[in-house]
């Protein structure tokens, strides 16, 4: 048998043996056996010295080819075995993915805060500033400069917590109208602001009344601001907070600091406008009050009412939250029951 034939035989035998290996160790043994220093190929190569100088390179290169092909086959087999072992291992590592995950701690913003943030973002986008004023306020700003002189009957509409004769817990965020108008330099541009915050009324807490609640005041003063601008702005607020499918209607109303004054209603959530107990069978739910700033308010804040004018509005995030989420008791907002707070963890 020629060396070449012998090498061919070794190759075929080797490839055949590889097929039956199934373990890493076995494979390793076979590799050492075939390709090792004491292996048959090495042995064959030792016999090369007996070959003629012409034959030597031919057999030599064939021997290398055999060696390479065996190495390749071993590698391929190794890969196969590894893959098989990995599959078995992964199979063993299988877990029940339906078991609950480890609870992660996550807090969330108060539902009223979420509504205030949403309102702030809407108005920031329209070029409004966000301002905040004192919660313990002067009678002058809270009432007098809002066109509510002492003895004005509308003061009875708002039962007030007084600290002294002249200092009180603000009953509304409206004093920020006077405070900002007083300071604003109209030569630098229009005044566009909203002012969210806590307000207080001398009320007995019950499902629909709270001695503490929130308001967001809005004010725009410039040379040409119209009732139509107010209407468009209020519609935008309603659509942003409640959704486009809600209609808005304006009704005449009365606030001492605006004239004309309006209240804005939106389509009843509960019945979609058909009329139900929630909306007192009108199909509408009142959501905010607004109007064109009263000339007296402008004058008292030192603004020339012949040149400047504008609109103001006040809305109640508590009421919005109650309507939007069907919260039936306003006290829920201030008791901070975890089971209540955690219901509003969706960021949307």
């Amino acid at each position: 048998m020629s060396l070449k034939d012998r090498l061919s035989e070794l190759l075929n035998q080797g490839l055949e043996d590889l097929k039956s290996t199934s373990e890493q160790d076995e494979l390793n043994e076979l590799r050492v056996h075939l390709l090792g220093k004491k292996g048959p190929i090495t042995k064959v190569l030792r016999g090369m010295k007996d070959l003629s100088p012409e034959e030597r390179p031919v057999v030599g290169s064939f021997a290398n080819e055999v060696r390479d092909r065996l190495q390749e086959a071993i590698d391929a087999r190794k890969e196969e075995i590894d893959q098989k072992l990995l599959t078995v291992k992964l199979e063993k590592e299988k877990i029940d993915v339906t078991l609950p995950g480890k609870p992660a701690a996550r807090g969330n913003a108060h539902v009223i805060q979420q509504i205030i943030d949403q309102i702030e973002d809407l108005f920031l986008g329209m070029g409004y500033q966000v301002l905040s004023g004192p919660e313990v306020e002067e009678d002058r700003y809270n009432f007098e400069m809002m066109n509510l002189p002492k003895d004005h009957p509308a003061r009875d509409m708002q039962d007030t917590f007084y600290i002294t004769k002249d200092i009180l817990m603000r009953t509304q965020t409206s004093p920020m109208q006077a405070r900002t108008m007083e300071k604003h330099d109209f030569s630098k541009g229009p005044l566009k602001m909203i002012s969210p915050g806590v307000v207080y009324r001398r009320d007995t807490d019950d499902p629909t009344h709270s001695h503490q609640f929130h308001q967001v005041e809005g004010l725009v003063i410039d040379k040409h601001v119209t009732m139509a601008d107010l209407k468009g702005t209020l519609e935008l607020v309603a659509h942003e907070l409640f959704g486009d499918r809600f209609d808005v209607r304006l009704r005449p109303s009365y606030f001492p600091f605006t004239e004309p004054s309006v209240e804005a209603d939106i389509t009843c959530f509960n019945c979609g406008g058909k009329g139900c107990a929630v909306c007192k069978h009108t199909g509408w739910i009142e959501v905010l009050g607004a109007g064109m700033v009263h000339p007296n308010v402008l004058k008292m804040a030192g603004v020339d009412s012949d040149i400047y004018g504008g609109f103001a509005f006040g809305l109640g995030p508590d009421r919005f939250a109650m309507l939007k989420y069907g919260v039936d008791d306003i006290r829920n907002f201030y008791l901070d029951d975890e089971r209540f707070l955690n219901q509003f963890s969706m960021k949307g």
Partner: protein
């Protein structure tokens, strides 16, 4: 105020459905609380005639009546009313009928006798007790004789009317009357109103011979009286009673009812005195004297205040002006001479009197909102005429007048340009003129300018803006376009302070705390707890309850109350933060300073328990981790330090720390003192409170990219046994001081004190990391630095290196 649609129709040719009218009123004028039809929900209530009646054999108060309800057969009904009698026309609830309160009436037996229905009182068919005339209060109601047997009863009692309940805003006092409503509805629908006016027939006696009046000018700018003699007091006719009870007023007699009717029709409060009970001939409207008392018609006796206006005869007060009459001059069955008062009283004084005596009447409510100064006399004449017609009284010639005013239209000028400028509309002068005409205002147009004459019945209109509102509401808010403010550009951004507050909130939430909003008004004790600063409390002058008397000087109390609320409801893991203001005040300050704070409170476990997570109660170090993470997130210059403190007596003395940033104390944290926890009824709770304003005001570090070293860091661990008195901070400070230039970080990785270490000692283990950003560190360099640390620790703190 409940307005009867049927009554409106007497003056207006209008026939839209009541709900449609209500919607129109809402969109154009004032809010409508409800539209109700008294007969709604009632069924099978008919007129019956009691043909005969005999006592129930088994009862001493029941009668068995045979009732003709227009059918061939008589209906046998058992009736227990004391006033039932043969020959009466009564309200019969037939079998299968439905009466008030949604009650169904069935055929039944009463003590063995069949009763085919029920004979009803007014209350039983849904009348409020407060409007049922006294005559019918304790028995069945008797219908007029001409009521037809078998007819439905509703029309006889005015129950098919739609009652539109107006919620009138303070400026629209004119809508508190039928005429006022008629005027406004006429404008809304562009209708012509057909009002009637009094046509008074006076007698021969001149009033001045019998009565003189006087009135304080400030108290009663208009004060007039008429006198009606030979009055025969009795029940009012049914049509008048219906108008009253549908408006929610109880019919009393033909004199009192007239005054109430006039009030509803014209909006002019009117009072009738029994002149026979008046001492002397002079009636005066004046301020009350010290120590005067008056018993009003409701039987209540009032100690009068010198700021109250009274109507007085020559001896004593006989009425609380504009509020309620006195019992001593009440109209009774025997009354023959009636003094009728029609006046305008000072609205502020009346409001205060009504509040002072807690006596809010229809009259006081009208005066508070103002009345039509131009309508005082017409109302007086109309009342006198009605008493003449209904009670056969003879009206004295003329009236006595204490004070009077010249009534003139208010003239307001406005340009078309101004109207369109404010409303954002493009109305034409014809359209605007038409609106003023619909309102029945006088209007003249000159160039661009309208001169508008507003009659006294609209006393709310004085200035341009008032006219603009009239145009807007009659034109319709629905027709005004929707636009957004244009004009010069403005930038809307949050201020740095607002941004920090927002970021603080979201960091807290990311760290697992939920935002709480608690009450800022607390009781005095709660308000003062956990105070970071000496401050006087700011207290309400007149609190509503003892729970909310004082403005908070800390946020933690509110959070502890929240935790108590949760704990009481078996919610034991509570993790809350609050961002809000606290209120500090010094001796000479009335209005407190408002300081933004942020506080947190954790009770129970921060991480909810699960199959793969054990329940672990929160502790000082978990909360400290939150505080540190939070403060770091703000990127302030300087180190955050915690120092043991005992100055907060509401905290556990051994588990309290003050928090400083860059050497400035900004807050504190610790465990709530067990005694305080007990008071609040809460489980062990850890809290922190930080002066957020201080953090906002602190300089922020400019964030710069820190090169990540290419060279490896080398770590060395050290375990030491040290006196318990030596704090971790002291050790870290020393290591950092002695660790050399390449010491990069010191990290505590073990703390042990217990059976394996001597008492009074504890074992601490630190990992020191060395790093040279410029080159590879040699072991030699690190060893030298480490040795220095070891030596210093031994020398300074006498530690044993393990």
């Amino acid at each position: 105020m409940k307005i009867s649609y049927n009554w409106l129709k007497e003056y207006l040719d209008i026939d839209v459905p009541a709900t449609e009218l209500a919607e129109k009123i809402e969109r154009s004028s004032v809010e409508v609380d409800s539209v109700t039809v008294p007969s709604d929900g009632l069924k099978k209530l008919v007129v019956g005639h009691i043909d005969s009646m005999e006592p129930h054999p088994e009862s001493d108060h029941l009668n068995v009546c045979q009732v003709n309800v227009g059918e061939e057969e008589l209906l046998q009904i058992v009736c227990g009313a004391p006033n039932v009698a043969v020959g009466q026309k009564v309200i019969v609830a037939l079998p299968g009928s439905r009466i008030g309160g949604n009650v169904k009436i069935k055929r039944s037996k009463m003590r063995g006798i069949v009763s085919n229905g029920m004979i009803c009182s007014l209350e039983e068919i849904g009348f409020s007790k407060s409007v049922v005339p006294k005559e019918w209060a304790d028995g069945i109601y008797v219908l007029p004789n001409d009521a037809k047997n078998g007819d439905e009863i509703y029309d006889y009692l005015g129950m098919n009317d739609s009652l539109i309940d107006l919620d009138v805003t303070p400026n629209r006092g004119d809508m508190l009357s039928v005429y006022g409503t008629v005027h406004d509805v006429a404008a809304m629908y562009n209708l012509k109103e057909n009002l009637d006016h009094p046509n008074l027939i006076e007698g021969k006696t001149a009033i001045g011979d019998e009565l003189t009046v006087a009135a304080d000018k400030e108290a009663a700018p208009i004060y007039k009286m008429r006198l009606v003699n030979n009055v025969k007091v009795g029940p009012s006719p049914l049509w008048l009673q219906i108008k009253l009870w549908n408006a929610g007023i109880r019919p009393i007699n033909n004199v009192v009812d007239v005054t109430n009717y006039i009030l509803m029709k014209y909006g002019q409060p009117m009072h009738a005195f029994d002149f026979g009970k008046v001492s002397g001939r002079k009636v005066e409207a004046r301020f009350a004297k010290e120590n005067e008392t008056l018993t009003t018609l409701d039987g209540e006796t009032h100690q009068l205040d010198p700021q109250d206006i009274v109507i007085a005869d020559e001896k004593q007060p006989i009425g609380l002006a504009g509020v309620m009459g006195g019992l001593n001059s009440e109209i009774e069955d025997g009354t023959t001479t009636v003094a009728l008062e029609s006046a305008v009283f000072n609205s502020t004084i009346i409001r205060k009197t009504a509040q002072r005596h807690n006596l809010h009447t229809d009259a006081s409510q009208h005066f508070e909102r103002g009345v039509n100064h131009g309508g005082v006399e017409e109302a007086l004449d109309a009342a006198a005429q009605m008493i003449h017609e209904l009670a056969q009284g003879d009206v004295d010639q003329g009236m006595v007048i204490a004070n009077d005013e010249k009534i003139a239209d208010v003239v307001v000028k406005i340009t078309l340009t101004r109207i369109n400028h404010v409303l954002g509309t493009e109305l034409t002068s014809t359209e605007v003129t038409h609106i003023f005409e619909r309102l029945n205002f006088g209007v003249e147009m000159n160039d661009d300018e309208f001169t508008v004459s507003v009659p006294s019945r609209r006393w709310d209109i004085h200035i341009e803006a008032d006219l603009i509102e009239e145009v807007a509401r009659i034109y319709g808010y629905d027709n005004i376009p929707s636009t957004l403010p244009t004009g010069r550009m403005t930038i809307g951004t949050l201020t740095p302070k607002q941004r920090i507050i927002r970021n603080s909130r979201s960091t807290m939430e990311g760290l697992g705390l939920s935002q709480a909003i608690s009450y800022a008004l607390l009781n005095d004790e709660e308000a003062k707890l956990f105070s970071m600063k000496a401050s006087l409390p700011t207290k309400l002058d007149w609190p509503m309850t003892v729970d909310h008397t004082t403005i908070r000087m800390n946020l933690i109390s509110g959070l502890l109350k929240d935790i108590a609320y949760n704990n009481a409801r078996k919610v034991e893991d509570v993790t809350l933060y609050e961002q809000g203001r606290v209120f500090y005040r010094t001796e000479n300050q009335v209005r407190p300073d408002e300081e933004e704070h942020i506080a947190g409170a954790i009770s129970g476990s921060l991480h909810s328990e699960a199959w793969n997570q054990h329940h672990t109660e929160t502790d000082f170090y978990e909360v400290k981790g939150i505080v540190v993470e939070y403060i770091q997130s703000l990127g302030l210059n300087g180190e955050i330090d915690f120092e043991a403190t005992t100055k907060y007596s509401d905290l556990h003395p051994g588990r309290a720390a003050s928090i400083s940033v860059h050497g400035h104390e900004v807050g504190f944290m610790g465990q709530v003192h067990p005694q305080i926890a007990k008071k609040f009824k809460i489980k062990p709770t850890y809290v922190f409170e930080i002066n957020l304003q201080a953090l906002i005001d602190m300089p922020k570090s400019d964030q710069q990219y820190d090169i990540i070293s290419k060279y490896p860091a080398i770590s060395r661990d050290i375990a030491i046994l040290v006196d318990e008195e030596i704090t971790h901070q002291q050790i870290v400070d020393l290591i950092q001081k002695r660790g050399g230039a390449f010491l990069n970080s010191v990290k505590l990785f073990d703390v042990y004190s217990g059976s394996h270490v001597p008492s009074g000692k504890r074992s601490l283990a630190y990992s020191l990391t060395f790093l040279d950003k410029e080159a590879t560190l040699t072991d030699d360099t690190v060893n030298k630095a480490f040795e220095k640390v070891e030596v210093s620790l031994q020398k300074e703190f006498n530690v044993e290196i393990r």
